[in-house]
Symmetry: C2
Subunit: 143 residues, 2 copies
Amino acid sequence: MDRVSVFNEYVRQKGLKNTSQRETILTVFLDSTSHYSTEELYLKLRKEHPKIGYATVHRTLKLFAECGIASELNFGDGQTRFEPLNQDQHHDHLVCTQCGLIIEFTEPRIEKIQEQVAAQHKFKIENHRHELYGLCARCSKQG
Amino acid sequence: MDRVSVFNEYVRQKGLKNTSQRETILTVFLDSTSHYSTEELYLKLRKEHPKIGYATVHRTLKLFAECGIASELNFGDGQTRFEPLNQDQHHDHLVCTQCGLIIEFTEPRIEKIQEQVAAQHKFKIENHRHELYGLCARCSKQG
DNA sequence: CTCAATGCAAACTATTTGCATTCGA
DNA sequence: TCGAATGCAAATAGTTTGCATTGAG
């Protein structure tokens, strides 16, 4: 089931409503590889859809996270970011501390070891966050 | 070189000053296994040392992070936390999303794989963050 | 003495909320 | 029609800063 369907299903089950704003936000949000903060997405949306307010964008992103099609990220720059989430495939991040470049990676080996660690502590993992901070190729050349 | 020395050395080299407040904060901060937010540490300090202000605690924690004896954490509860840092030994966290329990773990195997991932992307890692969120033993029993 | 540090209060930033109005089902 | 959603503005929460005063070197 794709993310649009997951969202629609969630809305239906909870008795919520599917407004044009939500549709617009969902489309733009999913159709990007960015890691938007509320503000960034709001500014981007505003160009084409001046009627969408900041609070709506914010509440909608929260809703996406709630229904599982987005995850909240915090890279330490003081802004919460959101990214579209695939149920089946988790990824983590390399973050360039100089230019802000974000590279995604997946590492099944790490995921597996994580499970072992959790098991040792009788911990039941719901989700995780794994970020490597440093200099990207370009920045470390210039540095 | 222990963390107190690292701090003193940093202060000396930068021409800063070693005040009694900083000494107090450093002592209490290092002598704990907690992951303090500015507010928590401030409240704790205030009991014994009513003269220390919030801003001083905050600036001092930032200073600790700056000189490398503390690291900033963000577990998504909206508060920045600080923990004493050992140069030689890095650890990561299991965070219980229900009761807030924090367990530390180290996994050399993961560290090694991380290095490989970074190398693949010509990334130079400065530091990283790795957190597993879920239910601790106690909470998953009750849940 | 000099300049960094402190403590207070005020400013800022990101996020969240109250409420009158709009709009989907 | 009814209640959820919106948009605005105002409130919150956490963090940071300006400034007069204090105090370390």
